[in-house]
């Protein structure tokens, strides 16, 4: 689709036959990805009165500290209850120990309104039932702190799936929406500035009420019911979507809000569902859409025709490859994703250039062989791989920045393109 294609045509694009799409390469080997615990790094910033207590090992604590850039905060709202030898040897009852740790924590931090017990690989393997512990502790601390549990373990979750598990754990607890009126629910932890931009756009469109999951405060979590229509802001929220559907909510299918077209399509899905008149929709988004295109154009000159290779990291790979292919003219050489949610990404997949190789899962050494053979202009990869690939002469983009930085919506579309353009510009500019 050309960037200037009219909206109507964009929305009429038909899906090619499944047979036209190349089979997805499924890999099963060493995965160079974070586990779901890493989501705590941004989730604890988003829900401002929540605390995340990982029940795990020293490795879990070390991971969080390393992934969080070591000690950014004086006393963060996350911690690890480190399982010790005496817990495993049965000298201490894990549940008693957990109660003691939670009591100590909550007496230190009475400001905490929502506590997540976060399961890890060790807690899963020893079958410590954190859901039951959460129920027990919720009773004990009733009125002061709500306690929920989810798993961020590496044996079950990959990186952003931790956010999915966290939000899915919130859903059964959400109040029932008995208003009888349709409401829109925005799902996914977005930076506040981006969330506010979207809320302004929905208000301008005339869509109301609009709720957000997760809310910024534990006491303000959105209601949900059969009249809830929800838009996923992130492509990795499969479990959360399922939980919301179990409560009667209906997912609005759309591209994910990356780039001018993605954001337009995403907003349009809501506008259609809420019966917003087409001309009003176009008028409302026109300014933002034009701004996004202008901003993207700066980077597009540098990026057009460049070949990009995505290693699996955050499940954002397919929407981002779509953005790069359709809006800045990059050529995806391979798009790797840790997990491919076929239903939620169906619309995205139809927009990828025909024949784009897609891989799911990872065998990192074999995939790096493919990277070296393809010699892409830009390789999007995790932090463990970036410097080694740079040292081999390949230009890389740290994937993690795509998760931490604000990249959604019209007014971040230029920043998103710039994230990919900067490594190339830098390499071209350096003479050392």
């Amino acid at each position: 689709m050309s960037p200037s294609a009219p909206l109507a045509i964009a929305r009429c694009a038909t899906a090619p036959h499944a047979a036209e799409r190349p089979p997805v390469l499924r890999e099963r080997g060493q995965r160079e990805v974070f586990c779901g615990l890493t989501g705590i790094v941004w989730l604890h910033r988003k829900i401002q009165d929540a605390f995340f207590l990982v029940v795990g090992s020293r490795t879990c604590a070390h991971l969080l500290q390393s992934a969080a850039g070591v000690m950014v905060f004086a006393e963060p709202r996350f911690a690890t209850a480190i399982i010790e030898e005496r817990d495993l040897a049965g000298m201490a009852d894990c549940n008693d120990e957990l109660d003691r740790v939670v009591d100590r924590l909550l007496s230190r931090r009475p400001d905490i309104k929502l506590l997540f017990l976060v399961g890890s690989c060790p807690s899963e393997v020893i079958k410590l039932d954190l859901s039951r512990a959460a129920a027990r502790l919720s009773n004990k601390h009733a009125g002061a702190t709500r306690i929920l549990a989810y798993s961020g373990s590496g044996i079950e979750t990959t990186f952003t799936e931790g956010e999915d598990a966290c939000l899915a754990a919130l859903v059964p607890d959400l109040p029932a929406d008995r208003s009888g009126a349709a409401s829109l629910l925005l799902v996914g932890a977005l930076p506040d500035v981006v969330e506010d931009q979207f809320l302004r756009l929905f208000a301008a469109l005339g869509i109301a009420p609009v709720h957000v999951l997760p809310a910024r405060r534990a006491g303000a979590m959105p209601p949900v019911g059969a009249n809830t229509r929800f838009l996923l802001a992130q492509p990795f929220l499969g479990e959360t979507a399922r939980a919301l559907e179990n409560r009667g909510a209906v997912r609005l299918d759309a591209l994910f809000p990356f780039g001018a077209d993605g954001t337009t399509d995403w907003l349009h899905a809501a506008a259609t569902a809420f019966g917003i008149e087409e001309m009003h929709f176009r008028r409302t988004v026109a300014k933002g859409r034009a701004r996004a295109k202008r901003a993207i154009a700066h980077a597009a000159d540098r990026l057009a025709g460049k070949r990009v290779f995505f290693l699996p990291d955050s499940q954002l790979e397919i929407p981002l490859a779509r953005f790069l292919a359709t809006e800045v003219g990059m050529v995806p050489v391979e798009v790797g994703t840790p997990y491919l949610h076929r239903a939620h990404l169906a619309r995205e997949l139809t927009r990828l250039p025909a024949g784009t190789p897609i891989s799911e899962g990872q065998d990192v050494d074999r995939q790096l062989d493919r990277v070296r053979a393809a010699r892409p202009d830009l390789t999007v990869c995790g932090l463990g791989l970036a410097n080694p690939l740079e040292a081999e002469g390949l230009t890389t983009k740290w994937a993690i920045e795509l998760v931490f930085a604000p990249i959604h919506g019209f007014d971040q579309a230029g920043d998103l393109a710039e994230l990919f353009a900067r490594p190339l510009r830098r390499r071209a500019g350096l003479t050392v």
Partner: protein, 525 residues
């Protein structure tokens, strides 16, 4: 269960990774779930290594449990050997794999790989990173050292020593090795093997051919040095050459072991004169709190008191394995030894003694920043800033120069201290600007968002607690409050706290001018 906000050490398998990554020709097969690969970024991002650590993670998932994790391990081992062709392989389990008890040792043995395989038993729920590194190095040496290797006759050749302990991700290990090697060269001592950093398994075979060993980092190499002493009768040089005096002692000890004249080490450091020159007078009695790994903390205490004229008001370490050494050192300085890895306890201790300088790890750097106390980093755990582009050893004579500069520069300089007082009332002078070079402090004044450049950029605001001032102001009389403003800003917070503490202890309800000066007299030294 232990409630942990921040950890000083990673799990023991990260220690093993530090050994494997430091060496050449070693590959480590780690039975671990996905996610444990985060440890790679410690090496590629923090240390900026241009190569991936030589580690293969088996990456088992929940659905593999109870089925074929053992098979997965063996496949990964075969593939890793075929791809990397190491001279020796390490096999082991991370914390999760330890629980599923797949027996990496037995599984690896059954494969009959065509290279030595060292199976590691690193109890993740009892031990930590340094112990894991020490144990891994020891097991490698035990397996690979040629038990028949012995030094050639001493006649007609220079003495030969092994330099043991430097690893990947070590605090300035790269530069310490260069500095100590240079020092040994000027002394006329040859280095037989430096290990683990840069060594191959083949090099480890020759360890027994050296005349003696130098234990540069006891946290890593002590176990190995003891075994080498027992097996080959090699004595160990144990003085750690951090600081001017310790470097001289190190030279004396090496010379005694090698049977050579120590005066050949002609080099010296600038530290003695820099410290004796009058500009340094203002360093006298600066109260310093020291925390780190035991080796670096103990060495720092000696330099602080004996070579810079500071007063040691706190001394501690996070590694219990060396608690005895630290207690002995604390006795020398008449301070209570602080042996803990509970970050919150250390923060309380620093707050309690109100030091003028903190020498610590990256953790203490954050505590100090929050409390607005100058700080220099002396020990791991490391941070991307601890791998400077420039040559910056901690050991040897150049190391002593580095210590002088990096510990003194965070302090307000002597002359500036007086100038600030002199110009305080000048209408053109705003003490809110702070001292010209104290960027850390002046940034801290502007708000809590002064996050450090970290291993990973994080675009979220920090949620630091409110600044420690602004408490109990109603207790102050107006004239005392005015007088307080005449005290230079960089000691004002301390004056306020001391006065309030004094007033509370004396049962004084309202702080007057007299209370202020009574407190000053009380705390005078």
């Amino acid at each position: 269960m232990q409630l942990t906000v921040w950890t000083y050490e990673g799990p023991p398998h990260v220690g093993a990774m530090r050994i494997a990554t430091a060496m050449q020709g070693v590959h480590y097969l780690l039975h671990a779930p996905q996610g444990d690969t985060y440890a790679d970024l410690l090496f590629t991002m923090i240390e900026r290594r241009g190569k991936r650590p030589p580690v293969t993670y088996t990456t088992f998932q929940a659905r593999d449990l109870g089925k074929d994790t053992a098979d997965l391990f063996q496949t990964a081992a075969r593939d890793a050997y075929a791809r990397f062709q190491p001279q020796a392989m390490l096999v082991g389990a991370s914390c999760t794999a330890e629980l599923i008890q797949d027996d990496p040792a037995g599984l690896a043995e059954a494969l009959r790989l065509p290279c030595p395989v060292v199976a590691l038993e690193l109890p993740s729920y009892q031990r930590k990173e340094n112990w894991g590194a020490a144990e891994t190095f020891y097991q490698l040496v035990r397996t690979l050292a040629d038990k028949d290797a012995r030094p050639t006759p001493r006649e007609g050749r220079r003495p030969r020593a092994n330099l043991l302990g430097p690893t990947a991700l070590g605090f300035r290990h790269r530069d310490d090795v260069i500095e100590v090697s240079r020092l040994l060269e000027t002394l006329g001592v040859d280095i037989a093997v430096t290990a683990p950093l840069g060594a191959t398994p083949a090099d480890l075979a020759h360890l027994g051919a050296a005349d003696f060993n130098i234990c540069l980092y006891p946290e890593i190499a002590d176990t190995t040095c003891r075994w080498l002493d027992k097996t080959f009768g090699q004595a160990t040089v144990r003085t750690v050459p951090i600081g001017h005096g310790a470097t001289r002692d190190f030279i004396a000890e090496v010379a005694a072991r090698a049977g050579i004249d120590p005066s050949h080490a002609l080099d010296t450091s600038n530290l003695p004169w820099w410290s004796r020159s009058v500009d340094s007078t203002y360093l006298t009695g600066k109260r310093v709190f020291i925390f780190g790994d035991a080796t670096h903390a103990i060495a720092a205490a000696r330099v602080a008191r004996d070579e810079l004229g500071f007063e040691v008001v706190g001394l501690g370490c996070y590694n219990r394995e060396f608690a005895r050494d630290l207690r002995a050192a604390a006795a020398l300085y008449a301070v209570e030894p602080l042996i803990t890895d509970d970050y919150l306890v250390i923060e309380d201790a620093i707050q309690a003694v109100q030091p003028e300088l903190v020498l610590g790890t990256q953790m203490e750097r954050h505590i100090a920043k929050r409390l607005r106390i100058p700080c220099a980093v002396i020990s791991a755990p490391v941070h991307v800033q601890d791998f400077p582009a420039r040559y910056s050893p901690q050991m040897g004579f150049e190391g002593a120069n580095v210590l002088f500069d990096s510990w003194v520069h965070p302090l307000v300089m002597g002359l500036e201290e007086h100038l600030l007082t002199m110009f305080r009332d000048d209408f053109e002078f705003s003490d809110a600007n702070g001292a010209s070079h104290l960027s850390v402090l002046s940034v801290a004044e502007t708000g809590p968002a002064s996050v450090s450049p970290a291993a990973v950029p994080l675009h979220h605001p920090a949620d630091g607690p409110p600044p420690p001032a602004a408490r109990g102001e109603d207790k102050w009389s107006a004239d005392a409050e005015r007088e307080l403003l005449k005290i230079p800003f960089f000691v004002r917070g301390k004056a306020r706290r001391n006065t309030e503490r004094f007033a509370a202890a004396q049962g004084v309800a309202t702080i007057t001018l007299d209370t202020l000066y009574d407190a000053k007299a009380h705390y005078a030294r």
